[in-house]
Subunit: 262 residues, 2 copies
């Protein structure tokens, strides 16, 4: 098991969000990536909104705990580091960070005990310059210039994901460990078994090419990184194929003998 | 301007997607991150679905070009590298990659000219083991174990984002360059201007603390990294404040003189 996260995760501040579905979707990805402090500034359709609960798919706690504010200034008053997420070029003389750089800065702040937040604008208009000016840096998701329109909850997801993978970079701890690759002795046994059967079958033809054909086979099979169980299975496959061929040959020989042929 | 991306982006294969809204949302994030090849295996409600176009917010081309298949095998037949996105532990002996590792592998493949794809399961059930077994590796988004339920389009977003930022790691090229920080001579001019006015105002008290007070002020202001324009503005601020104070003092002195006080 991994140890729990002890750094305080950043707040997510949604300024003038329009669609309750997006608030719920934002809560869902916050829960996916260890965030819980949701703050809403002037949600267009009021608060609470049942549709947010529906679209959160069970991530209710950021919604239950969400606080509503009249101004961005009030929503961020207790924070020491606030990053403004915006896709639009600004005249504001703030540093522009990628989500990854922003996450690193948030983690640095959190490690120092700072409370921090990520500020997102509404679906249609994004953030006003006056709101951006309250922040210490801009976060811009590097989207394709051919299609810049990033969904609000997707923007939250990418920033939350980058926060999280800096803390929990691996797959979930409950994932089963991959079986180790087989020892090379087992692989050599597999190779020699196969090559012996192929010799018996007259596969290596012409004989002067045998060495390079063997080498190519060993490289191809070796690249798969078989584990012990797979090596045993493959040796069973070779045996089944070669015995099957043996039975076919025996049957042919019997038929030929019956017909008086050699 | 950055140069265009020349590597072929991976296909996105959605196996048995249920909600047209999620197909549209997936198309939208594909467009955000330079992907365009969308393949649908047995979409529950048939295809095409107008709601997908609505939720794509204008990213119509992945939807217009989407191909529908009856089986995963058919959908991936022309691909050389397919990664299965799944959050559920599997017995399958495939390597498990993070989205970042997966993106690196996809870029390696694309750089070698391979066609590649990312396979996603439906909203409710995810991928079957038999579908995972068609793939060369598993991709697992490292979500918080306390809330694993990741939206389909969010999963597409994170994988597509990781593909893209490996190619286009910076903010969009159209973002304005930050003005350079002012030369230190300009900063020194600002400091000395401020300190002279503070001396005149009797701010540095007691005098033996002046050196450390000046040092602390310079450190605090220096950390902001003011550009030339900001330095000019701040010098205007200092002038305005000190002249304003001068006017107030002159007014007070005039009033005191009229009252016969020193």
């Amino acid at each position: 098991m991994r140890t729990g996260v002890t750094m305080k995760a950043p707040a997510v501040i949604l300024n003038a969000p329009q669609l309750a579905e997006n608030i719920g979707a934002a809560a869902r990805v916050m829960a996916n990536f260890g965030l819980g402090d949701l703050r809403l500034v002037n949600p267009r359709d009021g608060w609470p909104q049942p549709r947010a609960w529906t679209s959160s798919s069970g991530a209710h706690w950021p919604l239950e705990g969400a606080r509503v504010f009249a101004r961005v200034e009030d929503a961020i008053a207790d924070l020491r580091l606030v990053l403004a997420t915006t896709a639009r070029p600004r005249e504001t003389a703030l540093p522009v960070l990628t989500p990854r750089q922003a996450a690193a800065r948030l983690r640095d702040g959190a490690a120092a005990g700072w409370s921090a937040g990520l500020l997102f604008g509404g679906e249609r208009a994004g953030l006003e310059s006056a709101d951006v000016a309250l922040c210490q840096a801009i976060v811009t998701v590097p989207v394709d210039v051919k299609f810049r329109s990033l969904n609000l909850a997707q923007a939250v997801a990418l920033c939350a994901y980058e926060w999280w993978v800096g803390i929990e970079p691996g797959p979930p701890a409950s994932f089963p460990e991959l079986p180790a690759p087989a020892e090379q002795a087992a692989m050599l046994g597999l190779h020699e078994h196969l090559e012996a059967e192929l010799d018996a079958a007259g596969f290596f033809h012409p004989p002067e090419k045998r060495a390079s054909m063997v080498r190519n086979l060993r490289v191809a099979l070796g690249r798969a990184g078989f584990n012990e169980q797979e090596v045993r299975t493959l040796r069973g496959v070779i045996t089944a194929l070669s015995e099957g061929r043996g039975r076919v040959l025996a049957k042919l020989a019997a038929r030929n003998a019956a017909a008086g042929e050699p």
